[in-house]
């Protein structure tokens, strides 16, 4: 009975002391974290300069990635719509065209056909090309009628559309048959190259961030040499001594990430207007999107991670070498 009570008492004491230890530990980390920020705020100019350098290094690949992501979305939306344009003989009459359309629609490779009559083609050309006045000088409409053929889903692969293209070319009424996939493919391939280039650039710049923060922390360690020596003298562990430096790296990374986010957002906002004008010229509803929530989070998080890693690099190289004499 007594034994039971005392053991319950003891386990109660342990349960009570453990959250306290964790709380203490968290509290100490929090204090060191704030102290590191406090130290940085004592030298606002150099802190701002360092975080801006980091911000620029992070914002370059992040900004380019965001733009490429936009372009990829654009080409992605076009990818599925790999249509075949059939430019018909200029002297084809309406009855012939209608017959052809009916016949083609019966083929199961073809999902839909959009017919652009000669008049409609002329109207569209007049509107988009800016050569309206010049067209008035022509006696007759120089444009042929066009059929835009949409392959059905199972025949929209590049190979299947190529076969369909060949068979459509044999139609006597068809003057020129053209697969509109080519430029989509090229754009997509070009985006892939650009993505790879940004990835390489990003890696190189991540290395730069690592070294910038590492070097900044190294100088900080040199400046606080006496403090480190004396702390070791009175029994500070390496973990205790490196903590403030790791948090300094954390803050540099975080501030750099926020700076980068700000730069990317402002740059894209400045680009949005001209990009819209450009896309209107291509008759597209393309809109430049700002980095989304998760992309922003990734940007800031990776910058912070680089900050801590850079600090760890400096700390593991330089801190252990300082021993009291």
């Amino acid at each position: 009975m007594t034994r039971q009570r005392s053991s319950r008492k003891r386990s109660g004491a342990i349960a009570k002391s453990r959250p306290n230890a964790v709380q203490n530990w968290l509290l100490r980390h929090f204090q060191v974290m704030l102290a590191a920020l406090g130290r940085l705020s004592q030298y606002p100019v150099s802190t701002l300069m360092t975080s801006t350098v980091i911000g620029i290094a992070v914002c370059l690949p992040a900004g380019m990635w965001t733009i490429l992501d936009n372009v990829k979305q654009l080409s992605g939306s076009l990818d599925g719509a790999a249509s075949i344009s059939l430019f018909l003989q200029i002297d084809a009459n309406e009855q012939q065209i209608s017959d052809l359309q009916q016949r083609l629609l019966k083929r199961n490779e073809i999902a839909d056909i959009q017919l652009i009559s000669r008049d409609a083609a002329l109207a569209e050309f007049r509107q988009l090309s800016g050569f309206g006045d010049a067209l008035d000088l022509l006696e007759s409409n120089p444009l042929p009628a066009v059929m835009v053929v949409m392959p059905s889903r199972q025949h929209s692969t590049p190979a299947a559309s190529a076969i369909l293209l060949q068979s459509l070319k044999t139609e006597p009424l068809v003057d020129i048959a053209q697969l509109d996939l080519e430029w989509v493919k090229r754009l997509s391939a070009l985006t892939q190259v650009a993505f790879r280039a940004v990835l390489i650039l990003g890696t190189v710049l991540a290395l730069a961030v690592l070294l910038i923060i590492g070097n900044t922390i190294r100088l900080e360690i040199q400046n606080r040499r006496a403090e480190i020596e004396i702390s070791k003298l009175v029994g500070a562990t390496n973990g205790f001594i490196q903590r403030p430096f790791l948090y300094t790296g954390f803050w540099y990374g975080l501030l750099g990430g926020l700076t980068a986010w700000l730069m990317v957002t402002v740059s894209l906002w400045l680009l949005a207007g001209p990009a819209e004008t450009l896309s209107l010229l291509y008759n597209s509803s393309f809109e430049l999107n700002l980095p989304g929530f998760s992309a922003s989070l990734v940007m800031i998080f990776s910058s912070t991670l680089l900050g801590v890693a850079g600090a760890q690099l400096a700390v593991s190289r330089h801190l252990h070498a300082i021993e009291p004499e």
């Binding site: 203490n24 530990w25 100490r28 006496a226 403090e227 020596e229 004396i230 702390s231 070791k232 003298l233 009175v234 029994g235 500070a236 562990t237 390496n238 205790f240 021993e323 009291p324 004499e325």
Partner: protein, 222 residues
């Protein structure tokens, strides 16, 4: 509490810090370590605080074999040894309070406990009214007392002092020695290196004398 068994320290380059030193100090004992400069006094104290490692022989402090203590355990060993230096080794951009609090902070002592113990230590060395001062505004004797407060604030069982009165005049030196006597009277094992023979003779304590790294005289316990 402190046991040297044929302990030697040879520095890279062949210079011998101490060679084949053997002695034993009981818990709560007080002793002076004398000898000319370069006789190995500092080396011996550094070995106790593991600022140096012995190259040969055995060294036990507070039941721990220091030769076999892993590097990661060194900080925990140092928390049990109060160290006092001739040049004080204070942080000049921190207040007296923060300097004395450092050993407690690194040991993870709670905030309120730190305040209580730092003030108790400062009270003991008579500097309670200087807790907010910076060390540079204090005299040499006062700075040394800050160093002493820092060494004893975490109540270590062993305190070693390297020429603690080296820069002080005789009156201040005697004051510092009285402080050490007080710590010794509450059971702290104390080893004080000094070349101030007059002071040592006046204190009537055990004396260990080093000459060229060797222990040449041990008066034994009083």
């Amino acid at each position: 509490m402190i046991r040297f068994d044929n302990a030697s320290k040879r520095y890279p380059g062949g210079h011998e810090g101490i060679s084949n030193v053997s002695f034993h100090m009981r818990p709560g004992e007080m002793a002076f370590l004398t000898g000319h400069s370069g006789a190995g006094k500092s080396t011996l104290l550094k070995l106790i605080g593991l600022l140096e490692r012995p190259s040969r022989g055995q060294l036990m402090v507070d039941g721990r074999n220091l030769g076999k203590l892993g590097n990661h355990l060194v900080p925990y060993h140092r928390r049990k040894i109060g160290m006092i230096f001739q040049d004080h080794r204070l942080l000049h951009d921190r207040t007296v309070f923060d300097n004395v609090a450092l050993p407690l902070v690194v040991a993870g002592v709670g905030h309120q406990e730190i305040g209580r113990r730092v003030r108790a230590a400062l009270d003991k060395v008579g500097l309670l009214n200087h807790e907010k001062s910076l060390p540079v505004t204090l005299s040499g004797g006062e700075q040394q007392r800050v160093g002493i407060a820092r060494a004893v604030v975490s109540k270590p069982p062993v305190v070693v002092a390297d020429e603690p009165t080296g820069n002080l005049d005789p009156d201040l030196s005697r004051e510092i020695m009285n402080l050490f006597m007080q710590f010794n009277s509450v059971g702290v094992t104390l080893l004080i290196a000094t070349h101030d023979i007059a002071l040592v003779n006046a204190m009537q304590q055990r004396v260990l004398t080093l000459h060229q790294g060797q222990l040449v005289r041990d008066t034994g316990s009083y």
